[in-house]
Protein backbone atom coordinates (compact mmCIF):
# COMPACT_ATOMS: atom_id res chain seq x y z
CA UNK A 1 0.00 0.00 0.00
CA UNK A 2 1.78 3.06 -1.25
CA UNK A 3 -0.22 6.18 -0.57
CA UNK A 4 -0.99 5.88 3.14
CA UNK A 5 0.76 8.51 5.16
CA UNK A 6 -1.30 8.00 8.30
CA UNK A 7 0.81 6.72 11.14
CA UNK A 8 -1.61 3.87 11.69
CA UNK A 9 -3.48 1.53 9.42
CA UNK A 10 -7.12 2.46 8.83
CA UNK A 11 -9.27 -0.64 8.62
CA UNK A 12 -12.29 -0.38 6.30
CA UNK A 13 -15.67 -0.36 8.03
CA UNK A 14 -16.61 -3.40 5.98
CA UNK A 15 -13.72 -5.37 7.45
CA UNK A 16 -14.39 -4.06 10.95
CA UNK A 17 -18.04 -5.07 10.68
CA UNK A 18 -17.05 -8.51 9.42
CA UNK A 19 -14.55 -8.86 12.26
CA UNK A 20 -17.15 -7.95 14.90
CA UNK A 21 -19.77 -10.30 13.43
CA UNK A 22 -17.31 -13.17 13.54
CA UNK A 23 -16.11 -12.33 17.07
CA UNK A 24 -19.69 -12.55 18.27
CA UNK A 25 -19.58 -16.14 17.03
CA UNK A 26 -16.16 -16.62 18.68
CA UNK A 27 -14.42 -16.71 15.32
CA UNK A 28 -11.87 -14.54 13.58
CA UNK A 29 -11.28 -13.29 10.02
CA UNK A 30 -8.58 -15.86 9.36
CA UNK A 31 -10.63 -18.71 10.80
CA UNK A 32 -8.72 -19.00 14.09
CA UNK A 33 -10.23 -19.59 17.49
CA UNK A 34 -10.11 -16.73 20.02
CA UNK A 35 -6.99 -17.95 21.80
CA UNK A 36 -5.40 -19.73 18.85
CA UNK A 37 -1.95 -18.59 17.72
CA UNK A 38 -0.82 -18.45 14.12
CA UNK A 39 1.78 -21.05 13.07
CA UNK A 40 5.11 -20.35 14.79
CA UNK A 41 8.22 -21.11 12.73
CA UNK A 42 11.66 -20.77 14.35
CA UNK A 43 14.99 -21.18 12.54
CA UNK A 44 18.11 -20.86 14.65
CA UNK A 45 21.78 -20.38 13.82
CA UNK A 46 20.95 -18.37 10.70
CA UNK A 47 23.73 -15.79 11.26
CA UNK A 48 27.00 -17.63 11.69
CA UNK A 49 28.94 -14.50 12.65
CA UNK A 50 26.66 -14.03 15.64
CA UNK A 51 27.04 -16.10 18.83
CA UNK A 52 23.40 -17.05 18.48
CA UNK A 53 20.53 -16.11 16.18
CA UNK A 54 16.92 -16.90 15.40
CA UNK A 55 14.51 -16.03 12.61
CA UNK A 56 10.91 -16.24 13.80
CA UNK A 57 7.84 -16.21 11.57
CA UNK A 58 4.50 -15.79 13.35
CA UNK A 59 1.89 -15.78 10.60
CA UNK A 60 3.20 -12.94 8.42
CA UNK A 61 5.11 -11.21 11.19
CA UNK A 62 8.80 -11.88 10.73
CA UNK A 63 11.58 -11.03 13.16
CA UNK A 64 15.32 -11.80 13.37
CA UNK A 65 17.42 -11.75 16.55
CA UNK A 66 21.19 -11.94 16.90
CA UNK A 67 23.34 -12.47 20.00
CA UNK A 68 26.78 -10.88 20.30
CA UNK A 69 28.99 -11.33 23.35
CA UNK A 70 31.53 -8.85 24.70
CA UNK A 71 33.09 -8.19 28.09
CA UNK A 72 32.52 -5.07 30.17
CA UNK A 73 32.30 -3.64 33.68
CA UNK A 74 29.19 -4.72 35.59
CA UNK A 75 26.62 -2.22 36.88
CA UNK A 76 27.87 -0.65 40.10
CA UNK A 77 24.92 -1.89 42.14
CA UNK A 78 25.10 -5.41 40.63
CA UNK A 79 28.79 -6.35 40.81
CA UNK A 80 28.07 -10.10 40.84
CA UNK A 81 25.94 -10.23 37.70
CA UNK A 82 26.75 -10.30 34.01
CA UNK A 83 25.10 -7.88 31.60
CA UNK A 84 22.16 -8.62 29.32
CA UNK A 85 21.08 -5.90 26.90
CA UNK A 86 18.09 -6.23 24.57
CA UNK A 87 17.51 -3.86 21.67
CA UNK A 88 14.78 -3.88 19.06
CA UNK A 89 14.28 -1.96 15.86
CA UNK A 90 11.21 -2.00 13.65
CA UNK A 91 13.16 -1.78 10.41
CA UNK A 92 11.79 0.46 7.65
CA UNK A 93 11.61 -2.74 5.56
CA UNK A 94 8.86 -4.01 7.79
CA UNK A 95 5.88 -1.83 6.90
CA UNK A 96 4.72 1.20 4.96
CA UNK A 97 4.29 2.96 8.31
CA UNK A 98 7.84 2.34 9.59
CA UNK A 99 10.28 5.19 9.06
CA UNK A 100 14.08 4.97 9.22
CA UNK A 101 15.59 6.61 12.26
CA UNK A 102 16.25 5.97 15.96
CA UNK A 103 13.69 3.74 17.73
CA UNK A 104 10.45 5.58 18.56
CA UNK A 105 8.40 5.04 21.72
CA UNK A 106 6.77 1.88 20.31
CA UNK A 107 10.09 0.26 19.42
CA UNK A 108 11.57 1.20 22.80
CA UNK A 109 8.56 -0.22 24.61
CA UNK A 110 8.90 -3.40 22.54
CA UNK A 111 12.55 -3.85 23.51
CA UNK A 112 11.99 -3.08 27.20
CA UNK A 113 8.95 -5.36 27.54
CA UNK A 114 10.77 -8.28 25.90
CA UNK A 115 13.83 -7.58 28.04
CA UNK A 116 11.69 -7.55 31.18
CA UNK A 117 10.24 -10.96 30.33
CA UNK A 118 13.73 -12.44 29.94
CA UNK A 119 15.22 -10.68 32.96
CA UNK A 120 12.44 -11.08 35.53
CA UNK A 121 11.99 -14.77 34.73
CA UNK A 122 15.76 -15.15 35.28
CA UNK A 123 16.01 -17.07 32.04
CA UNK A 124 19.76 -16.43 32.04
CA UNK A 125 21.63 -16.97 35.32
CA UNK A 126 23.59 -13.73 35.18
CA UNK A 127 25.58 -14.75 38.26
CA UNK A 128 27.29 -17.38 36.12
CA UNK A 129 28.46 -14.71 33.66
CA UNK A 130 30.94 -13.04 36.00
CA UNK A 131 34.69 -13.14 35.33
CA UNK A 132 36.11 -10.80 37.99
CA UNK A 133 33.45 -9.68 40.42
CA UNK A 134 32.94 -5.94 40.36
CA UNK A 135 35.33 -5.53 37.42
CA UNK A 136 34.76 -7.74 34.39
CA UNK A 137 31.66 -9.63 33.32
CA UNK A 138 30.18 -11.07 30.13
CA UNK A 139 27.98 -8.56 28.29
CA UNK A 140 25.38 -10.41 26.21
CA UNK A 141 23.75 -8.22 23.57
CA UNK A 142 20.59 -9.38 21.83
CA UNK A 143 19.57 -7.19 18.89
CA UNK A 144 16.30 -7.69 17.12
CA UNK A 145 15.29 -6.46 13.66
CA UNK A 146 11.62 -6.65 12.72
CA UNK A 147 11.48 -7.57 9.02
CA UNK A 148 7.71 -7.68 8.39
CA UNK A 149 4.88 -6.39 10.55
CA UNK A 150 1.57 -8.21 10.79
CA UNK A 151 0.72 -7.77 14.44
CA UNK A 152 2.01 -9.14 17.74
CA UNK A 153 5.57 -7.91 17.56
CA UNK A 154 5.87 -8.52 21.31
CA UNK A 155 5.51 -12.30 21.12
CA UNK A 156 7.46 -12.73 17.88
CA UNK A 157 10.34 -10.66 19.29
CA UNK A 158 10.29 -12.55 22.58
CA UNK A 159 10.33 -15.95 20.85
CA UNK A 160 13.25 -14.79 18.68
CA UNK A 161 15.28 -13.50 21.64
CA UNK A 162 14.59 -16.63 23.72
CA UNK A 163 15.44 -18.98 20.82
CA UNK A 164 18.64 -17.10 19.99
CA UNK A 165 19.74 -17.27 23.65
CA UNK A 166 18.82 -20.95 23.99
CA UNK A 167 21.03 -21.89 21.05
CA UNK A 168 23.81 -19.34 21.58
CA UNK A 169 27.43 -20.45 21.89
CA UNK A 170 29.42 -18.11 24.12
CA UNK A 171 33.22 -18.02 24.13
CA UNK A 172 34.52 -19.74 27.26
CA UNK A 173 36.66 -17.07 28.93
CA UNK A 174 38.96 -17.57 31.90
CA UNK A 175 40.87 -15.38 34.27
CA UNK A 176 44.63 -16.09 34.24
CA UNK A 177 46.94 -13.87 36.26
CA UNK A 178 44.30 -11.18 36.46
CA UNK A 179 43.81 -11.14 32.66
CA UNK A 180 40.86 -12.38 30.61
CA UNK A 181 41.89 -15.24 28.31
CA UNK A 182 39.83 -16.91 25.59
CA UNK A 183 40.18 -20.68 26.02
CA UNK A 184 39.05 -21.15 22.41
CA UNK A 185 36.22 -23.34 23.65
CA UNK A 186 32.52 -22.53 23.43
CA UNK A 187 29.80 -22.87 26.05
CA UNK A 188 26.03 -22.49 26.06
CA UNK A 189 24.46 -19.57 27.93
CA UNK A 190 23.52 -20.51 31.52
CA UNK A 191 19.75 -21.11 31.15
CA UNK A 192 17.40 -21.47 34.14
CA UNK A 193 13.97 -21.33 32.51
CA UNK A 194 12.20 -20.68 29.22
CA UNK A 195 9.88 -17.66 29.47
CA UNK A 196 6.94 -17.48 27.07
CA UNK A 197 5.29 -14.20 26.13
CA UNK A 198 1.57 -14.18 25.28
CA UNK A 199 -0.11 -11.06 23.91
CA UNK A 200 -3.85 -10.51 23.86
CA UNK A 201 -6.08 -7.66 22.72
CA UNK A 202 -9.61 -6.70 23.68
CA UNK A 203 -12.05 -5.86 20.87
CA UNK A 204 -15.38 -4.95 22.41
CA UNK A 205 -16.02 -7.62 25.03
CA UNK A 206 -13.92 -10.29 23.36
CA UNK A 207 -10.33 -11.08 24.15
CA UNK A 208 -8.19 -12.68 21.44
CA UNK A 209 -4.61 -13.90 21.50
CA UNK A 210 -1.90 -13.28 18.87
CA UNK A 211 -3.54 -10.39 17.02
CA UNK A 212 -2.83 -9.55 13.38
CA UNK A 213 -2.15 -5.96 12.28
CA UNK A 214 -5.82 -5.56 11.35
CA UNK A 215 -6.97 -6.82 14.75
CA UNK A 216 -4.52 -4.50 16.52
CA UNK A 217 -5.84 -1.58 14.46
CA UNK A 218 -9.34 -2.34 15.80
CA UNK A 219 -8.36 -3.06 19.40
CA UNK A 220 -9.49 -1.21 22.48
CA UNK A 221 -6.60 -2.36 24.67
CA UNK A 222 -3.72 -4.82 24.72
CA UNK A 223 -1.86 -6.82 27.33
CA UNK A 224 1.35 -8.85 27.14
CA UNK A 225 2.04 -11.39 29.86
CA UNK A 226 5.16 -13.54 30.22
CA UNK A 227 5.20 -16.77 32.25
CA UNK A 228 8.07 -19.03 33.24
CA UNK A 229 8.28 -22.83 33.20
CA UNK A 230 6.65 -23.03 36.67
CA UNK A 231 3.61 -21.23 35.36
CA UNK A 232 4.44 -18.07 37.33
CA UNK A 233 3.71 -14.67 35.82
CA UNK A 234 6.93 -12.68 35.64
CA UNK A 235 6.31 -9.66 33.44
CA UNK A 236 3.21 -7.77 32.38
CA UNK A 237 2.56 -4.78 30.16
CA UNK A 238 -0.82 -3.27 29.37
CA UNK A 239 -0.86 -1.12 26.24
CA UNK A 240 -3.29 1.01 24.28
CA UNK A 241 -5.62 3.76 25.42
CA UNK A 242 -8.53 1.49 26.40
CA UNK A 243 -9.22 -0.39 29.63
CA UNK A 244 -9.66 -3.88 31.13
CA UNK A 245 -12.02 -5.07 33.83
CA UNK A 246 -10.74 -7.22 36.70
CA UNK A 247 -12.61 -10.27 35.33
CA UNK A 248 -10.95 -9.77 31.96
CA UNK A 249 -7.54 -9.70 33.60
CA UNK A 250 -8.29 -12.95 35.45
CA UNK A 251 -9.13 -14.48 32.09
CA UNK A 252 -5.92 -13.07 30.62
CA UNK A 253 -3.83 -14.65 33.39
CA UNK A 254 -5.43 -18.07 32.81
CA UNK A 255 -4.85 -17.79 29.07
CA UNK A 256 -1.24 -16.63 29.43
CA UNK A 257 -0.40 -19.58 31.68
CA UNK A 258 -2.12 -22.21 29.54
CA UNK A 259 -0.80 -20.81 26.25
CA UNK A 260 2.64 -20.58 27.86
CA UNK A 261 2.49 -24.34 28.48
CA UNK A 262 1.37 -24.92 24.90
CA UNK A 263 4.07 -22.78 23.29
CA UNK A 264 7.02 -23.59 25.55
CA UNK A 265 7.67 -27.02 23.95
CA UNK A 266 7.68 -25.41 20.49
CA UNK A 267 10.43 -23.03 21.57
CA UNK A 268 12.38 -25.65 23.50
CA UNK A 269 12.42 -27.82 20.39
CA UNK A 270 15.00 -25.47 18.82
CA UNK A 271 17.60 -26.72 21.30
CA UNK A 272 17.35 -30.20 19.75
CA UNK A 273 18.64 -29.05 16.38
CA UNK A 274 21.10 -26.72 18.15
Amino acid sequence: MSSARKSNMIVEHLRRAQMKELLAERKRLDGRGLTESRPIKIETNVIKKANGSALVTLGNTQVIAGVKVETDEPYEELPDKGLLICNAEVLPLASAYAEPGPPDEDAIELARVVDRGIRESEMIDLKKLVLIEGQKVYAVFVDVGVLNVDGNLFDATSYAVVSALLTAKLPKLEVKDGKIVDTGKLMPAPIKTVPVSVTMVRIGDTIIADPTSEEEACMDARVTMTTDADGHVCAVQKGGTGTFTVEQIHHVVETAISKGEEIRPIIKKVTESG
Binding site: S2, I47, K49, K68, L91, A94, D143, G145, L147, D150
Partner: protein
Protein backbone atom coordinates in the same frame (compact mmCIF):
# COMPACT_ATOMS: atom_id res chain seq x y z
CA UNK B 1 49.55 -4.79 3.95
CA UNK B 2 51.26 -6.78 1.22
CA UNK B 3 51.73 -10.48 1.87
CA UNK B 4 52.99 -12.15 -1.29
CA UNK B 5 51.98 -15.69 -1.97
CA UNK B 6 49.81 -16.13 1.11
CA UNK B 7 46.40 -15.50 -0.40
CA UNK B 8 46.86 -17.49 -3.61
CA UNK B 9 48.81 -20.75 -3.63
CA UNK B 10 50.97 -22.21 -6.41
CA UNK B 11 47.98 -23.94 -8.02
CA UNK B 12 46.21 -20.59 -8.30
CA UNK B 13 43.75 -21.47 -5.55
CA UNK B 14 42.60 -18.80 -3.12
CA UNK B 15 42.02 -19.04 0.65
CA UNK B 16 38.40 -20.09 0.18
CA UNK B 17 39.18 -22.67 -2.50
CA UNK B 18 38.24 -20.55 -5.51
CA UNK B 19 40.18 -19.89 -8.68
CA UNK B 20 41.04 -16.30 -9.58
CA UNK B 21 38.09 -15.91 -11.97
CA UNK B 22 35.44 -17.57 -9.81
CA UNK B 23 32.50 -15.93 -8.07
CA UNK B 24 31.46 -16.96 -4.58
CA UNK B 25 28.22 -18.96 -4.41
CA UNK B 26 25.22 -16.69 -4.95
CA UNK B 27 21.57 -17.32 -4.15
CA UNK B 28 18.80 -14.80 -4.92
CA UNK B 29 15.15 -14.99 -3.84
CA UNK B 30 12.43 -12.60 -4.96
CA UNK B 31 9.37 -11.39 -3.07
CA UNK B 32 10.39 -12.42 0.46
CA UNK B 33 8.61 -9.69 2.45
CA UNK B 34 4.84 -9.40 2.42
CA UNK B 35 4.33 -5.72 3.18
CA UNK B 36 6.96 -4.25 0.87
CA UNK B 37 5.98 -3.34 -2.70
CA UNK B 38 9.03 -5.28 -3.87
CA UNK B 39 11.66 -7.30 -2.02
CA UNK B 40 14.53 -9.72 -2.38
CA UNK B 41 17.03 -11.73 -0.36
CA UNK B 42 20.58 -12.47 -1.44
CA UNK B 43 23.37 -14.73 -0.20
CA UNK B 44 26.64 -13.66 -1.82
CA UNK B 45 29.37 -15.77 -0.26
CA UNK B 46 28.70 -15.31 3.46
CA UNK B 47 26.85 -12.03 2.91
CA UNK B 48 23.17 -12.29 3.83
CA UNK B 49 21.16 -9.27 2.81
CA UNK B 50 17.46 -8.50 2.60
CA UNK B 51 16.07 -5.57 0.60
CA UNK B 52 12.66 -3.91 0.63
CA UNK B 53 11.31 -1.37 -1.85
CA UNK B 54 8.39 0.89 -1.02
CA UNK B 55 7.12 3.03 -3.85
CA UNK B 56 6.46 4.87 -5.91
CA UNK B 57 4.56 6.56 -3.08
CA UNK B 58 3.62 9.98 -1.80
CA UNK B 59 6.45 12.09 -0.44
CA UNK B 60 6.24 13.40 3.09
CA UNK B 61 6.94 16.19 3.83
CA UNK B 62 5.35 17.44 0.61
CA UNK B 63 7.98 20.09 0.00
CA UNK B 64 10.57 17.36 -0.59
CA UNK B 65 8.71 16.22 -3.70
CA UNK B 66 10.00 17.08 -7.15
CA UNK B 67 7.42 18.27 -9.68
CA UNK B 68 8.72 16.30 -12.64
CA UNK B 69 10.15 13.08 -11.25
CA UNK B 70 10.34 10.67 -8.37
CA UNK B 71 12.88 11.02 -5.57
CA UNK B 72 14.97 7.90 -4.97
CA UNK B 73 16.08 7.32 -1.39
CA UNK B 74 18.39 4.50 -0.31
CA UNK B 75 19.34 3.27 3.11
CA UNK B 76 22.14 0.73 3.48
CA UNK B 77 22.22 -0.47 7.07
CA UNK B 78 24.11 -3.20 8.90
CA UNK B 79 22.44 -5.13 11.70
CA UNK B 80 24.40 -5.00 14.99
CA UNK B 81 25.01 -8.77 14.80
CA UNK B 82 26.15 -8.76 11.18
CA UNK B 83 29.87 -8.33 11.87
CA UNK B 84 32.55 -9.80 14.12
CA UNK B 85 32.46 -6.95 16.68
CA UNK B 86 28.91 -5.87 17.50
CA UNK B 87 28.04 -2.74 15.59
CA UNK B 88 26.10 0.14 17.13
CA UNK B 89 22.68 0.35 15.42
CA UNK B 90 23.06 4.06 14.64
CA UNK B 91 24.15 4.81 11.04
CA UNK B 92 27.92 5.11 10.70
CA UNK B 93 29.78 7.32 8.23
CA UNK B 94 30.57 4.23 6.16
CA UNK B 95 26.88 3.28 5.95
CA UNK B 96 25.94 6.81 4.95
CA UNK B 97 28.52 6.84 2.15
CA UNK B 98 27.45 3.42 0.90
CA UNK B 99 23.82 4.55 0.96
CA UNK B 100 24.77 7.43 -1.30
CA UNK B 101 26.80 5.45 -3.84
CA UNK B 102 24.09 2.79 -3.87
CA UNK B 103 21.49 5.37 -4.77
CA UNK B 104 23.77 6.71 -7.48
CA UNK B 105 24.29 3.19 -8.80
CA UNK B 106 20.57 2.45 -9.04
CA UNK B 107 19.25 5.78 -10.27
CA UNK B 108 20.56 5.61 -13.86
CA UNK B 109 18.52 2.47 -14.42
CA UNK B 110 15.23 3.88 -13.13
CA UNK B 111 12.79 5.89 -15.23
CA UNK B 112 12.00 8.35 -12.46
CA UNK B 113 10.33 10.83 -14.83
CA UNK B 114 7.39 8.44 -15.04
CA UNK B 115 6.46 9.12 -11.41
CA UNK B 116 6.42 12.87 -10.68
CA UNK B 117 5.85 14.04 -7.09
CA UNK B 118 6.56 10.63 -5.60
CA UNK B 119 9.34 8.88 -3.71
CA UNK B 120 10.84 5.43 -4.07
CA UNK B 121 12.47 4.07 -0.92
CA UNK B 122 15.04 1.28 -1.02
CA UNK B 123 16.00 -0.30 2.30
CA UNK B 124 19.02 -2.61 2.34
CA UNK B 125 19.57 -4.51 5.58
CA UNK B 126 22.78 -6.48 5.94
CA UNK B 127 22.08 -9.40 8.28
CA UNK B 128 25.55 -10.88 7.86
CA UNK B 129 28.47 -9.11 6.19
CA UNK B 130 31.48 -10.60 4.46
CA UNK B 131 33.34 -8.41 1.98
CA UNK B 132 31.49 -7.00 -1.02
CA UNK B 133 28.29 -6.32 0.87
CA UNK B 134 27.64 -3.12 -1.05
CA UNK B 135 27.78 -5.01 -4.35
CA UNK B 136 25.47 -7.67 -3.01
CA UNK B 137 23.14 -4.95 -1.71
CA UNK B 138 22.96 -3.20 -5.08
CA UNK B 139 22.37 -6.51 -6.86
CA UNK B 140 19.52 -7.40 -4.53
CA UNK B 141 18.09 -3.86 -4.63
CA UNK B 142 17.85 -3.95 -8.41
CA UNK B 143 15.89 -7.21 -8.21
CA UNK B 144 13.61 -5.77 -5.53
CA UNK B 145 12.93 -2.70 -7.70
CA UNK B 146 11.95 -4.95 -10.61
CA UNK B 147 9.73 -6.93 -8.22
CA UNK B 148 8.08 -3.65 -7.21
CA UNK B 149 7.32 -2.95 -10.85
CA UNK B 150 9.26 0.31 -11.09
CA UNK B 151 9.99 1.20 -14.74
CA UNK B 152 13.67 0.43 -15.41
CA UNK B 153 15.81 0.61 -18.54
CA UNK B 154 17.91 -2.29 -17.31
CA UNK B 155 18.75 -4.21 -14.17
CA UNK B 156 21.84 -3.17 -12.19
CA UNK B 157 24.33 -5.96 -11.59
CA UNK B 158 27.18 -5.42 -9.16
CA UNK B 159 30.41 -7.23 -8.34
CA UNK B 160 33.91 -6.36 -7.18
CA UNK B 161 37.32 -7.28 -8.51
CA UNK B 162 40.68 -6.65 -6.90
CA UNK B 163 44.38 -7.30 -6.76
CA UNK B 164 45.68 -9.95 -4.43
CA UNK B 165 49.27 -11.26 -4.40
CA UNK B 166 49.99 -9.19 -7.55
CA UNK B 167 47.14 -11.00 -9.35
CA UNK B 168 43.84 -9.53 -10.55
CA UNK B 169 41.04 -11.62 -9.02
CA UNK B 170 37.26 -11.63 -9.25
CA UNK B 171 34.95 -11.07 -6.26
CA UNK B 172 37.25 -10.57 -3.33
CA UNK B 173 36.26 -12.01 0.04
CA UNK B 174 36.68 -10.51 3.50
CA UNK B 175 40.24 -11.73 4.06
CA UNK B 176 41.36 -10.62 0.59
CA UNK B 177 39.77 -7.23 1.24
CA UNK B 178 41.80 -6.77 4.40
CA UNK B 179 45.11 -8.26 3.24
CA UNK B 180 44.97 -7.59 -0.50
CA UNK B 181 46.40 -4.78 -2.62
CA UNK B 182 43.34 -3.26 -4.31
CA UNK B 183 39.58 -3.51 -4.22
CA UNK B 184 37.26 -2.24 -6.96
CA UNK B 185 33.50 -2.52 -6.48
CA UNK B 186 31.59 -2.00 -9.71
CA UNK B 187 27.98 -1.84 -10.87
CA UNK B 188 26.80 -2.21 -14.44
CA UNK B 189 23.69 -1.85 -16.61
CA UNK B 190 24.32 -5.18 -18.37
CA UNK B 191 22.29 -4.70 -21.57
CA UNK B 192 23.25 -1.08 -22.11
CA UNK B 193 26.84 -1.74 -20.96
CA UNK B 194 27.06 1.33 -18.78
CA UNK B 195 28.89 1.65 -15.46
CA UNK B 196 26.87 3.14 -12.60
CA UNK B 197 29.14 2.46 -9.61
CA UNK B 198 32.90 2.47 -9.50
CA UNK B 199 35.11 2.84 -6.47
CA UNK B 200 38.63 1.74 -5.85
CA UNK B 201 41.03 1.70 -2.98
CA UNK B 202 44.57 0.33 -3.29
CA UNK B 203 47.30 0.74 -5.86
CA UNK B 204 46.87 -0.25 -9.49
CA UNK B 205 49.10 0.49 -12.48
CA UNK B 206 47.28 1.60 -15.64
CA UNK B 207 47.08 -1.84 -17.30
CA UNK B 208 46.22 -3.45 -13.97
CA UNK B 209 43.36 -0.98 -13.63
CA UNK B 210 42.00 -1.91 -17.06
CA UNK B 211 42.28 -5.62 -16.32
CA UNK B 212 40.58 -5.15 -12.96
CA UNK B 213 37.79 -3.22 -14.65
CA UNK B 214 37.27 -5.92 -17.29
CA UNK B 215 37.28 -8.62 -14.62
CA UNK B 216 34.67 -6.78 -12.56
CA UNK B 217 32.51 -6.28 -15.65
CA UNK B 218 32.66 -9.99 -16.44
CA UNK B 219 31.64 -10.67 -12.87
CA UNK B 220 28.68 -8.27 -13.16
CA UNK B 221 27.50 -10.09 -16.28
CA UNK B 222 27.56 -13.42 -14.44
CA UNK B 223 25.64 -11.85 -11.54
CA UNK B 224 23.10 -10.50 -14.03
CA UNK B 225 22.29 -14.03 -15.27
CA UNK B 226 21.48 -15.02 -11.69
CA UNK B 227 19.27 -11.95 -11.21
CA UNK B 228 17.34 -12.83 -14.36
CA UNK B 229 16.95 -16.46 -13.32
CA UNK B 230 15.63 -15.46 -9.91
CA UNK B 231 13.05 -13.07 -11.39
CA UNK B 232 11.95 -15.52 -14.08
CA UNK B 233 11.60 -18.28 -11.49
CA UNK B 234 9.43 -16.16 -9.20
CA UNK B 235 7.16 -14.79 -11.91
CA UNK B 236 7.01 -17.49 -14.51
CA UNK B 237 7.91 -20.64 -12.58
CA UNK B 238 8.98 -23.41 -14.90
CA UNK B 239 7.07 -21.97 -17.87
CA UNK B 240 9.16 -21.20 -20.89
CA UNK B 241 6.56 -20.61 -23.61
CA UNK B 242 3.82 -18.05 -23.08
CA UNK B 243 1.02 -19.80 -24.97
CA UNK B 244 -2.57 -18.71 -25.52
CA UNK B 245 -3.50 -16.02 -23.02
CA UNK B 246 -7.26 -16.76 -23.01
Amino acid sequence: MKVLGKLINEQGIRTDGRRVDELRPIKIEVGVLKNADGSSYIEFGKNKIVVAVYGPKEVHPKHMALPDRSVLRCRYHMSPFSVEERKNPAPSRREIEISKVTREALEPALMLDDYPRTAIDVYIEVLQADGGSRCAGITAASVALADAGVNMKDLVASCAAGKVDDTIVLDINDEEDKEGQADMPLALLPNLNQITLMQMDGILAKDEYKKCLDTAIEGCKKVYQLQKEALMKKYFGTEIEVGNLA
